[in-house]
Symmetry: C2
Subunit: 397 residues, 2 copies
Amino acid sequence: MLTLSSRGKLMPPSPIRKLVPYAEAAKKRGIKVFHLNIGQPDIETPEPILNAVRHADFKVLEYSHSAGNESYRRKLVQYYKKAGIEVDHTQIIITTGGSEAILFGFLSCLDAGDEVIIPEPFYANYNGFAVAAGINVVPVTSNIENGFALPPISAIEQHITPKTKAILICNPNNPTGYLYSREEMETLKQVVIKHNLYLFSDEAYREFCYGGEHMSAMQLEGLDEHVILMDTISKRYSACGGRIGALVTKNRQVLDAVMKFAQARLSPPSFAQILGEAAVDLPDNYFDATKAEYMKRRDVLVKRLNAMPGVLCPNPGGAFYAMARLPIDDADVFCQWLLESFSHNGQTVMLAPASGFYGTPGLGKNEVRLAYVLNVADLNSAMDCLQQALKEYPGKK
Amino acid sequence: MLTLSSRGKLMPPSPIRKLVPYAEAAKKRGIKVFHLNIGQPDIETPEPILNAVRHADFKVLEYSHSAGNESYRRKLVQYYKKAGIEVDHTQIIITTGGSEAILFGFLSCLDAGDEVIIPEPFYANYNGFAVAAGINVVPVTSNIENGFALPPISAIEQHITPKTKAILICNPNNPTGYLYSREEMETLKQVVIKHNLYLFSDEAYREFCYGGEHMSAMQLEGLDEHVILMDTISKRYSACGGRIGALVTKNRQVLDAVMKFAQARLSPPSFAQILGEAAVDLPDNYFDATKAEYMKRRDVLVKRLNAMPGVLCPNPGGAFYAMARLPIDDADVFCQWLLESFSHNGQTVMLAPASGFYGTPGLGKNEVRLAYVLNVADLNSAMDCLQQALKEYPGKK
């Protein structure tokens, strides 16, 4: 009998996708399922950037430069400049989605057995890349009561060991929607300098901030050697399928190491690089409409949730996710029940149980993540379902 | 001072790309450089498959299924059937290039410290994926004298240890162009069964066989649990920039593990999946013209090389590479000299020194790899340069 690798066994299945068979079964029974479970925006990909791909003129679909097309990297310098981030094109390596930027960052900065501290709840796939890289995720718990603010400096320092090599933040946050303040970023800077750590910053949702101002880790002064930005165009331009991201840093050593991993896989996808390059030329007000739409949805979602008895949903400052605490026994059971045993006017709602976003076993049992990626009408219908479900669910508390 | 990971330091730079700065300098001096150093075909990407992308009708560039679009996987079943390989669509996981198929195979089947046996010379990037996965490549030497045939069974068995988990072959081979015979494949089967190993088979160049018939590892009877096919459309359809490959196996356990790694990175690139799906509908004779063209080039190249005093170039049975032994002291020095200090009628040639393709230090010092990805006229000019260079080179032997 051939054996799998231990990491092949250890590798966590996607906590978001595990309910998919139940959703498919519900649909087969004729039930309409509102998907608030995944971060696939319904916003249309801008026509001009799709057209850039459609009209691209070449005869051979060649490998690009391993760091991505130079024309694209030079264009991105403009994009980052507008976002208040000063970099040059040699400090940008185009990756296959933000996913690859995370993996390359882990592989280049940490060895097997090293530790990365991540405030929990966190994006579940960090676990997957950690297993792939053989490193350990050390969660520091943030709480729904204060809207998932950065845990106090003492709580972070408690978790630092000789194996700790980095802190990873996602800002604004998936799954909590939390937007780190300038003060919190300065706190992180102190910790990072004091303990000589890398600061990995996942800023996939940079443009989607409601009210507060986004501060990039790249804007922290004196932290050039420490900060590794992990970026992606997926959510920014509703271009998830393109698989284009970037790793950005001013640390030359790290760039050189990442470049070797990039060379091994030859190049990032060519078509979507064309799309990404065109995206930089979208009008400056492009994000206004998208942002206004997400903000409207957020307001509806948060208001509806907090109006339900026993439900707590902090107002998220960014991204398009909200976490809610529900008056239930077990969110995994509840989310499955929603798909298997419940319907309201022939409809139901699919949510992501929060347990998969926590590294500490047992946390998040009565929390769910909701992605507000549906229009207001559908969102209201989904909330009608949830409201009714919380009345009918046998395991309510 | 922040430190890199050991693997970040260990990671080998691309041996093929390291001469690029010298080529760029030569071009700046006005010298025409014939690139026989990389496997970037000059064959045009078929217009109908580019059109499939141009005319794809969708509003949102969404994530695809983590295993790739089901429609594409079902279509690939037809492709494989024509190639004499019987699989169903659940046995195919679409990957980001063949590169990701190799990485996923390593991660799922081997743990850090485990060993994979690879006949050398081999595709240099296997080293990179091995470092990323923390596994060790154990080379078994094949020789230019017998055209790089599979080393004898005794030589392979000599290298098997308790840590050995897999044998990896590339067939037809990059860099040697060697096409394994049915007998050699049966030999591999015996070894694999006797020692309970995985057989990783990289068949990127399946269609490009001249004379001999290609036997896929997937066609070996009784080896369903052992064989992991690592595939790519890059060379097949001159679609290198698309970054679409596949991992194919009948081993359900391995599929489940690979699927978890695939879920972590969400999905393979969408645009090139459309292209790949359309490629299955190319006429059955599509490869005839391409193959005839490569065969013509091979014949020119091999004839020209063997006509040069002191040069040995075995006739490659497939792919679009040839290895040649040159009457020189050091191929790394020679290849750099070709770019830095030589020109013939304002032209020179860029080759890949073979040392980077060997795992055993010191081997391949007087060998080079030539990719016949240029038309016959250019190929002849490149051979004129090489012929003259071998007369002028100070380190000739």
